[in-house]
Amino acid sequence: MIGVLSYLVFFATVASILSIAVLGLNLQWGNTGLFNGGVVAFFGAGGYGTLILGGTPQADHLGGFDLPYLIALLGGMVIAGLLAWVVGILTLRLRHDYLAIATFGVAVAFENLMRNAEGLAGGAKGLRGFERPLRQALGDGFTYNVLFLIFTVGLLIATYLFLQRLIRSPFGRLLRAIREDETAAQSLGKTPARVRLTAFIAGSVIMGLAGGLYATFYAFISPQDVLPILTFQIWAMLIVGGAGNNKGAVMGAFLIWGAWTASGWALSRFAPLDVQLYTGSIQFILIGVVIVGMLLWRPQGLFAEKLVVSQSGRA
């Protein structure tokens, strides 16, 4: 019983962390119409940032500034935001494709850098030497994991409420206005490029938070954690849940993460041994089919965006 329960806690923790990343993507794609092809770079920047700032000093690579945990987590978010600022400032004035290509490129380059730069982040071996916060007081067991789940869910709720408020605010209306008709928004004296940059950075900072929590949860991060497949998973979550709808984003995250782990389990359990090598390929095809299928048959997702009319049309 305790085995099932601790698995559920583990599952819920990872799903909640991914939900936060999906919420960040929803701000960019769902609300503003920005295509982020490199979610994993911002997720990774948060994760690596948190561990480098909060870890114990290491001989063979940078880091171990031993900062208090919350400051390290915040620092990871800032690093993700800085990365987004650099990419955004170069691409957001141009046609949409450039952002898609540049963000895809930044993810490739990020993974490549982390894999090769041993002095920066431990290279392919990953980043070690991080102590989970309050580990001495709480130990490594079930209690710790439950408390970490509560901490994560708390941050998920905080992010959710923040975004709900944000999209109802004048700024949220502005985001949707730019998404729907940039020229019209411009004619009302708004600067789409600056607003888009703000939304892009904000979304990436949220992804950085998710990455920081993920790295904290495992007390470890390596290039294997920032592979492009994570970007696709996070997209599938948003597209299935419903772009533009925060509730849909969270539901999509739990649904897809459930389907992903279930399919992995089923394949490892029931597939013949010689097929096991191809488990990854089969799962990737499933994710691809989910993305393409949803775009073909239900592009609005399971939970469609509720469009609000701020002022009714009656004159």
Partner: protein, 304 residues
């Protein structure tokens, strides 16, 4: 140094062939197609299948041509692979892109292209296995062109370069001398106006995919000749090919040709100063530099 330059030119010709098709589709359908590089994989693998088939049906075809490792069977297979890849590109468009296009935004197409790329890449992996394969197991020695500066070239690479240049010259002839070429450029300039002038838009889109697919298949085979064929070939080439289109300017076919060579040369020269582990990042650096200096690329025009 000179070796890097020559290698860069040879890789560049492959990137150019890939970038031409990509830039045409991006210009006309207005979306960044992340599945384009998978067409290179489809081409490389179909050539592998037909190469085996032809060699088995008529063994003399399995003889290598001159100093190359390229066989007669593989040359025939390449032509067939170009046709098949062109057809696959059309089928993918009909099945996925045309429908997503009818439904909505350009960016949904980008999402869809990522999904398509994942499906193609992993289906190829399931069919052909995840290990690398070669067209020929014979070892072809590189020829020492000069000893000071030291320069090695494989005959296959020279053949690929010449074949790529011939293909590009044919394409140039078609685009600049035929009615079809004019129609194609007209559609790219202004689809509505072109339709008013009696150009069938749907047929043009089909032709773009056929040309793009055919060129990609040739690029895939040439890549396989000097490297190996594996299911992640598309994943490794997608960013360099995008870099080539951005360097050349999205929509410019001649820009794509030049961009391919520039990216090929720059990537190889970068290895003079960078450790080779960093080579996957180089196309991204090139993209960043172009976006900083000249976002529209060499020959691109500004378009929102």
């Amino acid at each position: 140094m000179i070796q890097n330059l020559v290698d860069g030119v040879l890789v560049g010709s492959i990137l150019s062939l890939g970038a031409i098709g990509l830039t045409m589709a991006m210009h006309m359908l207005r979306f960044a197609n992340f599945s384009h590089a998978e067409l290179l994989s489809i081409g490389a693998y179909s050539a592998l299948v037909f190469d085996g088939l032809f060699s088995a049906l008529y063994p003399p075809l399995a003889n290598a041509i001159g100093p190359l490792s390229l066989t007669w069977a593989l040359s025939l297979a390449t032509i067939l692979a170009m046709a098949i890849t062109g057809a696959s590109a059309v089928v993918i468009d009909r099945l996925v892109f045309a429908r997503v296009r009818a439904k909505g935004g350009e960016l949904s197409m980008v999402f869809a292209s990522f999904g398509v790329a994942m499906i193609i890449r992993n289906v190829l992996g399931l069919i052909f296995g995840l290990q690398s394969q070669l067209y020929s197991k014979d070892i072809v020695f590189a020829i020492v062109i000069s000893r000071d500066p030291f320069l090695l070239i494989k005959p296959d690479q020279v053949f690929s370069l010449i074949a790529a240049l011939i293909i590009m010259a044919i394409l140039h002839g078609v685009l600049s001398r035929t009615t079809f070429g004019y129609a194609l450029r007209a559609v790219a300039e202004n689809p509505s106006l072109a339709q008013v002038s009696g150009i069938n838009l749907k047929r043009m889109i089909t032709l773009i995919w056929i040309i793009g697919g055919g060129l990609a298949a040739a690029a895939g085979v040439f890549y396989g000749l000097s490297n190996q064929i594996n299911p992640v070939l598309g994943r490794d080439l997608v960013l360099p090919i995008f870099a080539a289109t951005i360097v050349g300017g999205i929509g410019s076919i001649y820009g794509a040709v030049l961009g391919g060579f520039l990216v090929g040369i720059a990537s190889n020269l970068a290895l003079v100063i960078l450790p080779s582990g960093y080579s996957p990042s180089v196309p991204f650096l090139i993209i960043l530099i172009v976006l900083m200096i000249r976002p529209t690329g060499l020959f691109g025009e500004e378009r929102a």
